[in-house]
């Protein structure tokens, strides 16, 4: 990950010094790569589709997709005021992921810490290992 970022920096630096001779296939001069993989990843135009659909599908109870979106487009988050097409989606993904994980985390911690004092006998009914025993979920193998 560091190597890709370092390469991206190298590319950016070299780009500023050799901008006259650098040209992409499409003729565009911008060389920054919006994805964390740098030159191995997507170009900016291709990645709009990915950013948008990762954000939209994250609403199907898939916060990990938001997190992957933020990870994949990490340079977009870091360098503010760059990639104007992508940045709204990525920022919204980051906010949504933070909110969701706060909610889920607080519920999980409440469940663990509260235990039987808080929930009564439903704690035993909700905890996963009892549920697995009840429905015989581990008997497949």
């Amino acid at each position: 990950m560091e190597r890709a970022a370092e390469l991206e920096n190298n590319n950016n630096n070299e780009n500023s010094s050799t901008s006259s001779s650098s040209s992409l296939i499409g003729g565009s001069v911008r060389q920054e790569w919006p994805t964390i993989d740098g030159p191995l990843g997507l170009s900016e135009n291709d990645s709009v589709w990915y950013a948008r659909y990762f954000f939209i599908f994250g609403f199907l109870m898939l916060p990990l997709l938001w997190a992957v979106n933020c990870y994949l487009f990490w340079p977009v988050l870091i360098h503010s005021r760059s990639f104007p097409l992508l940045r709204p989606y990525i920022v919204r993904s980051a906010i949504a992921f933070a909110v969701f994980s706060a909610i889920l985390g607080s519920w999980a911690v409440t469940f663990v810490v509260g235990g039987e004092r808080l929930f009564g006998h439903t704690w035993d009914e909700l905890v996963m290992y009892n549920v697995a025993d009840k429905y015989g979920l581990t008997g497949w193998i």
């Binding site: 190298n10 050799t18 650098s22 992409l24 191995l40 992957v68 996963m128 979920l137 497949w140």
Partner: protein, 426 residues
């Protein structure tokens, strides 16, 4: 930067490439060893574990040496036969250009492995450690994990690290499943699969060789689960060459990346592979056999909550075994379209199965087998650089590993234990 950085030497980039393929293999093996040492402590009844690999003979610890040997041999021959048939079906489908079907099947297989297998192992760990997680959180996390995993496998443009991580996890889950087979069957299976791999990749009529040649002729990628290491880009790669050349075995590369000069000059090849994993087929079959209890399985078959659709689909599933997950994992090593080393997921799986089985005996065998496998992988990489075509990655490593396991268990253990007990060394 004002001046160009020092150009990387061939040694650096070659070493980097090798490290980038050995690291995930080691991580996968390490995870399987941990899982095996945590979960297989009870050494519970493997008699109830029926799958396609134990269809011919169910091992019993009270059988004689020759009975076990013959039974294991029979099991592994049946297994190799099924794998051969499945691989030929894969070649046929690829020949008929059903690549989208294969891709969807790959995604479906990944979904089953991550969702069901991963969920089950997570449940085992939950029960073992008594983790107080509630079912909503658990199911939500599992759902997320599975869906993102399927996307990582499906989409070629996901973050490289995410895809690699998920491939390693899939390899680990399938390898853990294989370690549940009886002991003799496992070892015989490993040897049989490595011999099959050798034949399938190198013989002119071998299915994998046909597959690779088809893929090369059509300039396509085989739709399969293959681990591709991140390609090493030279530091002095000028920006205009940022677009990674797609097919290296069409024209020689003119980019000064050390490893590419080393390994790709001319005709480097896409991955070969044996279609190996038949996880779902086995899983379905074991579920089916469990649901329809007593059907050809010795010992007590565990009663599970019979799922109606599985009972109805008994015949269909058993017939579908040949088609299921043939492309889930491929074995074999080769070079990807971006010059990075590609290693089929079947190799990950069988290496990890070997080490996992060794872990079920003692950690001494684990160290010996790990060293053998890494040495074998190094030899295979050297051969890959030498021959510049797709090679089977199983034979050298697995045969060395089995040899080292036997030597350690029979000879080294007595020596080491006596030395330790008498406080001479270790």
């Amino acid at each position: 930067m004002a001046q160009n950085p020092k150009p990387r030497s061939i040694i650096e980039s070659l070493g980097e490439e090798i490290v980038r393929i050995i690291t995930p293999v080691s991580i996968c093996m390490f995870l399987v060893v941990i899982l095996v040492s945590i979960l297989n402590n009870s050494e519970s009844s493997s008699a109830s574990f029926t799958s396609i690999a134990t269809i011919a003979y169910t091992e019993d610890s009270s059988d004689s040496f020759w009975d076990k040997f013959e039974g294991a041999l029979l099991n592994s021959l049946v297994f190799v036969a099924v794998v051969t048939v499945v691989t030929f079906v894969l070649v046929l489908l690829f020949y008929l250009r059903c690549t989208s079907f294969l891709k969807y099947y790959m995604g479906f297989s990944a979904f089953l492995v991550l969702g069901l297998m991963g969920g089950e192992i997570a449940l085992f760990l939950n029960q073992y450690f008594r983790i107080p997680v509630d079912c909503f959180t658990f199911l939500l996390v599992l759902f997320n994990f599975t869906v993102v995993g399927v996307l990582a496998v499906f989409m070629s443009k996901m973050a490289i690290f995410v895809t690699q991580g998920y491939l390693v996890v899939i390899g680990m889950l399938v390898a853990y499943w294989f370690t549940l087979l009886p002991e003799w069957t496992t070892w015989m299976l490993l040897v049989a699969m490595s011999l099959y791999d050798l034949a399938a990749v190198l013989l002119p009529g071998g299915p994998l060789r046909l597959l690779v040649e088809l893929a090369m002729a059509r300039d396509e990628d085989i739709p399969a689960l293959v681990y591709e290491a991140r390609p090493v880009l030279a530091n002095d790669l000028s920006p205009r060459e940022n677009v990674i050349p797609r097919r290296l075995w069409r024209e020689p590369r003119n980019v000064d990346s050390g490893i590419n000069e080393n390994l790709n000059s001319g005709s480097s090849v896409n991955p070969s592979g044996t279609a190996v994993s038949r996880l779902e087929s086995n899983q379905n079959e074991s579920r089916i056999v469990n649901a329809v209890s007593g059907q050809g399985s010795r010992g007590i078959s565990e009663l599970t909550a019979p799922l109606i659709e599985h009972r109805i689909n008994v015949q269909m599933h058993l017939a579908q075994q040949a088609v299921e997950t043939e492309n889930l994992v491929l074995e074999g090593i080769g070079l990807g379209s971006s010059g990075a080393i590609k290693l089929g997921l079947g190799d990950f799986i069988f290496y990890s199965v070997l080490v996992g089985r060794a872990a079920m005996y003692d950690f001494m065998t684990v160290y010996a087998c790990y060293l053998a496998i890494i040495a074998g992988l190094g030899i295979t990489l050297v051969l890959l650089a030498f021959y510049q075509k797709a090679l089977p990655a199983l034979p050298v490593s697995v045969l060395l590993g089995v040899l080292f396991y036997l030597l350690t268990r029979l000879l080294l253990e007595a020596f080491v234990v006596q030395c330790s007990v008498n406080l001479i060394m270790f």
